[in-house]
């Protein structure tokens, strides 16, 4: 049968089904395979907060979305081109995001009367004509698999569980992806379970062959490989990147890593990754609560370890008193907050950027510290290294903000050589001659790191205000004023040590967009698209939120209109307002879902057309 081959620049695929349908696995295989064959990918897993929500329900749908592109892909895609829907509910919750003309691969078995009822359909959408705008391919996956495996003796239970691989096989055919990586993965995974291994490989092939032979599949889509810088790559999630960043930072600092932490979604993965790294000499404590997590990290830092604690918003709230102690004792500490929608338990599995105020100001007393934010999953690695660099060089706790979107989403990451990364060797106090715990480096104002075990330097530090230089407890009013100012100045001076902002898009514009954190993908895609259209829009993305890059004020002063899109009600906007005293327009989305590129584009259009209207 003749099949048409269509060349595309980008495509968005979404696998959706019940928690038990293996959609996360299928999605991950599809994205890993695609990435390793050279296209750019960006993924986002989207699952219910219930562990195993009741089967077939609307709130139990688990999905995995992948966007592929032959040029840079910065988001997981606004609209879906191909939806794999294993049941009626997964069609219902996703169909509104499907492009007109998009493909739906529907598993008929999941559209029986029970499933339709659970999805609150009054008639079967596969039959009632309501999906006319789409290209629907309905098939009974289980029946096809059974037919395919007839006589193999493979148990019906295994057949039921391999449906995701059939769907994966079809998608591999549709996008002409190689199957070897998945076969290799299966071989490693089911080494000890020959039956399951054989069944899954056969089912995967069956999916491919089914699409190849079946008339419903007329078109095959192909993407050119994207242009990547030379190097070794892997797909990585933000949480994984943070874990690797911490290990790498400890290597570059040549001191051991200690992680003191308490599980919380969506930050838990970091703990789980690190807990498996024992052969790298890494110690961790899954503490009794967040307070013990950070307190143990402070203890380890006092002892000369690269110490870290990882959490999400509610946990950061619990850690705050202890952060003040780290500010006061001037000890290095990396605090990672994987933000989620709040307040309180909020939407625990959904991203938001609403902890910025908490990170900046959520402490008693004058307690400044550096605040950083990662822009994407892969950027989490670089920003973790940066957090460790600032913590060690300036002897200060540092908060790194990421969020549930980039923490769980993945993208290709060029793995750096260790030699490309900054040297993080800390400044330990080793000479007792003239030693005092609060002698400072005149340039950075950082004190030396004096750890127990050093002869002749026994001293006491703590949360009480101390005399500058000697570190002795002091209640002297003048000294307190001085110390408060020194601690502030130390953090302010970090501005000299961070890169200036680079203007993306068209610097010669009237509209400047300022982004921070995970909104990077959507804003960058929108700005790139507009720039291609010849629309003038400038864009800067903040990774350092305290202190700001030195040229931020300059940049801001050059633009008439400033837009700050953020997933909160205007936290960065408020900070910029108070610092630079210029009018700033906010674009604020707090729905537990990231911005779409189209939303940012529409906002750009709106702002620029208003301008014309005024003229």
């Amino acid at each position: 049968m003749e099949k048409e081959i269509i060349y595309l620049d980008e495509i968005t695929v979404r696998f959706a089904g019940d928690s038990g349908d293996g959609m996360q696995l299928a999605g991950k295989q599809f994205s890993d395979t695609s990435a390793s064959s050279g296209v750019d990918v960006n993924t986002f897993p989207d699952f219910p907060s219930e562990i195993r929500a009741p089967e077939g329900t609307l709130y139990g749908v688990s999905a995995f979305q992948i966007k592929l592109g032959s040029s840079s892909v910065n988001t997981h895609g606004d609209e879906i081109d191909l939806l794999v829907a294993m049941n009626a509910s997964s069609l219902k919750v996703n169909v509104n995001n499907l492009k007109v003309g998009g493909i739906i691969i529907a598993n008929i078995e999941g559209f029986d009367s029970r499933n339709l009822k659970l999805a609150k359909y009054t008639s079967n959408p596969l039959e009632d004509g309501s999906l006319k705008k789409f290209n629907v391919i309905a098939l009974d996956i289980e029946a096809i698999i059974k037919e395919e495996l007839k006589g193999s003796g493979i148990s019906p239970k295994i057949v039921k569980k391999s449906k995701n691989f059939f769907a994966l096989g079809i998608t591999y055919w549709l996008f002409n992806r190689p199957m070897e990586p998945t076969v290799k993965w299966l071989n490693a995974k089911f080494k000890k379970d020959a039956d399951v291994l054989e069944a899954n490989i056969r089912v995967l092939n069956a999916g491919w062959n089914y699409a190849l032979k079946n008339e419903a599949f007329k078109k095959q889509y192909t993407l050119q490989p994207a242009k990547f810088e030379k190097g070794t790559y892997r797909n990585i999630s933000g949480n994984h990147a943070v874990a690797l960043g911490l290990v790498t930072a400890s290597k570059k600092a040549n001191i051991p890593l200690f992680l003191g932490t308490y599980p919380i979604t969506p930050a838990t993965d970091i703990l789980q990754y690190i807990s498996g790294y024992k052969k790298y000499g890494i110690r961790h404590l899954q503490a009794e609560d967040e307070i013990a997590g950070i307190a143990s990290a402070i203890g380890a830092s006092y002892g000369g370890n690269l110490a870290a604690t990882t959490t999400s918003g509610p946990g950061l709230s619990l850690k705050i008193e202890a952060i003040g102690l780290a500010v006061m004792t001037e000890l290095p500490l990396v605090i990672v907050d994987v933000m989620r929608a709040g307040p309180s338990t909020g939407l625990p599995t959904k991203p938001e950027q609403s902890d910025l105020f908490q990170a900046m100001y959520g402490r008693h007393g004058e307690a400044p510290l550096p605040v950083l934010a990662a822009a994407s999953a892969a950027d989490c690695f670089a920003m973790t290294i940066e957090a460790a660099r600032l913590a060690l060089k300036y002897m200060t706790p540092v908060i790194l903000l990421t969020d549930g979107y980039i923490a769980q989403g993945t993208e290709p990451w060029r793995i750096p050589e260790l030699s490309e990364l900054p040297d993080l060797t800390p400044n330990f106090a080793t000479d007792p001659e003239g030693f005092a715990p609060y002698i400072r480096d005149p340039e950075t104002l950082a004190r030396m790191w004096a750890v127990p075990g050093m002869q002749g330097m026994e001293h006491r530090i703590g949360g009480l205000e101390k005399q500058n230089i000697t570190g002795a407890v002091s209640h002297d009013p003048e000294n307190h004023q001085k110390m408060v100012e020194i601690r502030q100045e130390k953090i302010d001076r970090i501005a000299r040590d961070i890169p200036n902002l680079e203007i993306m898009g068209n610097a010669d514009a009237e509209l400047l967009i300022i982004g921070w954190g995970s909104t990077y993908g959507a804003i960058k895609s929108a700005v790139d698209a507009k720039t291609k259209e010849g629309v003038k829009v400038a864009y800067v993305h903040l990774k350092h939120l305290n202190p700001f890059p030195s040229n931020l004020g300059d940049v801001i002063s050059k633009y008439k209109t400033i837009l700050v899109p953020e997933m909160n009600l205007g936290q960065l906007r408020t900070i910029l307002h108070s610092k630079f005293l210029v009018p700033i327009i906010g674009m604020n989305k707090v729905q537990g879902i990231p911005f779409k590129t189209s939303e940012i584009k529409a906002k750009i259009d709106e702002l620029l057309s208003e301008k014309e209207a005024v003229i």
Binding site: Y233, R234, P256, R283, A292, S296, G299, V451, P452, M454
Partner: protein
């Protein structure tokens, strides 16, 4: 390969480690009130330090907030004055990250049983090798006299002018219930006994908890007089000594027998019981430790002092190290480049 940290902390000590107690007194004034029970803890601690046989730069004292929290300032070793309730958590991180150190915690009944209660019970079960000395004065002193989790029911304090309504914690029983391997109790009036308890705690590899009844002569003066004053002490307390029968009384004429699960006071002079009938203390018997711990607030029996329990169990920090060693031995020392590259990477040329 040694890390930079390991390199700097493994430099050999120069000179002697034959210290005198005075070597542990820093050049600062102790700021506790005259007559405070805290002095009775400080001096035996300073006395046992030379016996640890380690350089003083290898010793660290961690504290929380309260009058007891000042303790690290009065020891010329490494000291860290933390925040209210978190001393055990801070000390745990220090010990896990720096197993070469001798780590001590000074805490109070409020610091350790109230705000720090969670860290305390988890410290007990985790068994990190730290020594926790709790100054129990049955009151919040630094905040000037409110009732604490060890204040007795009905205690009149500034925040309970009509009498405290709460039942108190029994710290020794709490520690035992939470799985502490070393649990002891002493009184400020018996410094020699405290010295013995601190020596034993230092020698114990694991979490050691020493509750010290500490008089606060400002906010709860005489709280322990009913059983610690010279003239009543021998009748109102009983010393727990491993392998020895529980005898007490000025004339050592009374003892404790066990009746079912109940400890009972008997006379050794009325001809009914002899020393051989008495309960013999066994530090290794955790069932017995529970019974002894529960004697604390029982008005029919004397208040037990001494070591309730001392069990040997692998410490958390040793277990962490053992896991690392095992991983390195079976898989080889981790190579960071390999970790970064992972199993599913690809090369772009």
């Amino acid at each position: 390969m040694k890390t930079l940290l390991e390199e700097i902390i493994s430099k050999p000590h120069i000179g002697t480690i034959e210290y005198e107690p005075k070597d542990f007194k820093p050049d600062v004034d102790v700021r506790w009130c005259a007559g405070c029970g805290g002095y009775s803890i400080l001096s035996p601690v300073q006395r046992i330090m030379p016996e640890l046989g380690i350089p003083k730069e290898k010793i660290a004292f961690i504290s929380g907030i309260g009058c007891s929290g000042r303790f690290p300032y009065y020891m010329d070793v490494y000291g860290f004055h933390g925040i209210h309730g978190r001393a055990i958590a801070i000390a745990s991180g220090l010990k896990i990250g720096r197993p070469d150190l001798s780590v001590w915690v000074a805490t109070g009944d409020g610091d350790n049983m109230s705000i720090g209660g969670n860290h305390f019970i988890h410290g007990c079960r985790r068994n990190t090798d730290i020594n926790v000395i709790m100054f129990n004065n049955e009151v919040y002193s630094l905040t000037k006299g409110q009732y604490s989790p060890t204040s007795h029911k009905g205690q009149i304090t500034k925040s309970s002018p009509l009498g405290a309504l709460d039942e108190p914690f029994n710290p020794a029983a709490l520690a035992l219930g939470a799985g502490a391997t070393f649990v002891a109790r002493g009184i400020d009036k018996d410094r020699n006994h405290l010295q013995y308890l601190f020596e034993r705690a230092a020698a114990h590899n694991g979490f050691s908890f020493i509750e010290v009844y500490t008089n606060c002569n400002i906010f709860n003066d005489g709280a322990f007089d009913s059983f610690t004053k010279k003239d009543v002490r021998e009748d109102m307390t009983v010393m727990l000594e491993h392998g020895k029968p529980l005898i007490f009384g000025k004339d050592r004429d009374k003892g404790i027998i066990i009746d079912g699960f109940k400890p009972k006071v008997v006379s050794l002079t009325d001809g009914k019981y002899t020393i051989d009938d008495l309960l013999v203390h066994d530090e290794k018997d955790s069932t017995l430790a529970f019974i002894l711990g529960n004697m604390t607030y029982n008005p029919d029996v004397p208040r037990p002092l001494g070591i309730f329990q001392s069990l040997e169990r692998s410490s958390y920090n040793d277990s962490v190290q053992a896991q690392i060693d095992h991983e390195v031995a079976t898989k080889g020392e981790g190579n960071i480049t390999e970790l970064l590259v992972g199993k599913e990477s690809w090369v772009v040329k």
